[in-house]
């Protein structure tokens, strides 16, 4: 009986070590996937405003009404 118990605990501890290793790689994958998703949303909404801001601040500085009017 005692031998069975020790065997069980040994099995659990080995599993525990494998789980923590797996979860490190999984954590890294999860974080990188989360980061890529956020980067995609930021680029999707922010790229054109970024180009407009950089353009409006370049020399010679254009006026705001030139941005909106078709002339």
């Amino acid at each position: 009986m005692s031998s069975r118990i020790t065997l069980k605990t040994k099995g659990k501890s080995v599993k525990g070590a494998k789980d923590s290793e797996k979860s490190r790689a999984d954590c890294l994958k999860e974080w990188s996937t989360w980061a890529m998703k956020k980067a995609k949303v930021i680029t999707h909404y922010g790229f054109i405003p970024l180009v407009i801001i950089i353009g409006m601040n370049s020399d010679p500085k254009p006026q705001l009404h030139q941005l909106l009017s078709p002339v």
Partner: protein
């Protein structure tokens, strides 16, 4: 008195005719930088594959500044849907596309957004004289339909000056100014690398490898390009089964003829096309005919300063698909 006359005057004409012959001698240590690997078929693509379209196209580009401009485009026309049957199914669609461009010698940003939320973004940045970064992305609201790719290009800089060598050590042979390398990373675990080198003033050779993790594909390819003032011939082979050869002959300043052959040795599929490109003062006319029974033509006419009229026609005899388009580009 005789001393006033420079002694070399009678010798000069001979010297000037002798000089060009000396300059023609090739300096293999100073070859120019080759064109980028992905543009190796550039002349043939420009002549044989114009941007054909169907329907109406109206482009208005408004420059606010030397570097910054906004563009508005309206595109109305049928869009093809892939269908199982042999008939092509077209659905009429209309888009408005807004674009912003910032073009600087060191940084270029181009963004285009459509009414359905699709974004097309391109960035090119020169991090230093030799190294440049390019990125492009097509982002959509649908999940898993977005693509992105980033490239790092290293080219030998044109302005490199060697320190004046007493005797040039053989090491200098490795520091050729005449190559380009590129590394690419894309989504879906896509990795690629390419290298192209000028081996003589007219011939450049290159190779590439790529690995696509998502599709479990990898491949290697080689390319060669021979050009002189009158013609350009290129050849490219890839382990994905593709062989592409092209030849462009420049008959005069205004006329050039091009032909290309694409052969897939895995699927035994061959396509060849022949085309012409007339670049005249007020217009540019390109036409081509294909071995798939497809004839196409594209005309860009300059009506006025900044006003261009475009006509596009494509007739596919095999599929009985006729596409005609017209458009106007302002600015």
């Amino acid at each position: 008195m005789a001393g006033l006359v420079p002694p070399g005057t009678t010798v000069k004409p001979d010297a000037s005719t002798a000089k060009p012959k000396e300059e023609e001698k090739v300096d293999y240590m100073n070859l120019p930088c080759p064109i980028p690997y992905e543009e190796i078929h550039r002349e043939a693509l420009m002549s044989l594959k114009p941007e054909l379209f169907e329907g109406l196209r109206f482009d208005f580009t408004k420059g606010l500044n030397q570097k910054f401009s906004l563009s508005h485009s309206v595109i109305m026309g049928p869009t093809e849907i892939p269908s199982q049957s042999t008939e092509t199914i077209k659905i009429p669609t209309a888009h408005y596309e807004f674009g912003a461009n910032y073009i600087d010698p060191k940084l270029m940003l181009i963004g285009r957004v459509l009414t359905d939320g699709r974004l097309n973004a391109r960035v090119k940045c020169d991090l230093s004289d030799n190294l440049s970064l390019k990125a492009n992305a097509q982002l959509t609201n649908e999940p898993h339909m977005s693509h992105g790719m980033i490239n790092f290009d290293y080219k030998s800089a044109p302005g490199l000056t060697y320190p004046p060598p007493p005797p040039p050590p053989p090491k200098h042979k490795m520091q050729g100014k005449d190559y380009r390398t590129q590394f690419q990373f894309g989504n879906g675990a896509l990795f690629g690398a390419s290298y192209i080198q000028n081996v003589s003033p007219h011939l450049s050779l290159g190779g590439e490898v790529f690995w696509a993790g998502q599709h479990r594909k990898s491949g290697i390819g080689y390319a060669a390009r021979y050009e002189n003032d009158k013609m350009v011939a290129t050849g490219q082979v890839a382990s994905t089964g593709m062989v592409a050869l092209s030849y462009v002959q420049k008959l005069s300043e205004k006329v050039s003829l091009a032909t290309d052959l694409m052969y897939n040795y895995m699927s035994r599929d061959v396509t060849s096309s022949v085309g012409y490109d007339y670049i005249l003062r007020q217009c540019r006319l390109r036409g081509k005919i294909d071995s798939n029974g497809c004839a196409a033509a594209y005309l860009e006419e300059r009506l006025n300063m900044g006003l261009n009229f475009i006509l596009s026609a494509e007739i596919d005899h095999r599929k009985k698909d006729y596409k005609f388009g017209f458009g106007l580009t302002v600015g």
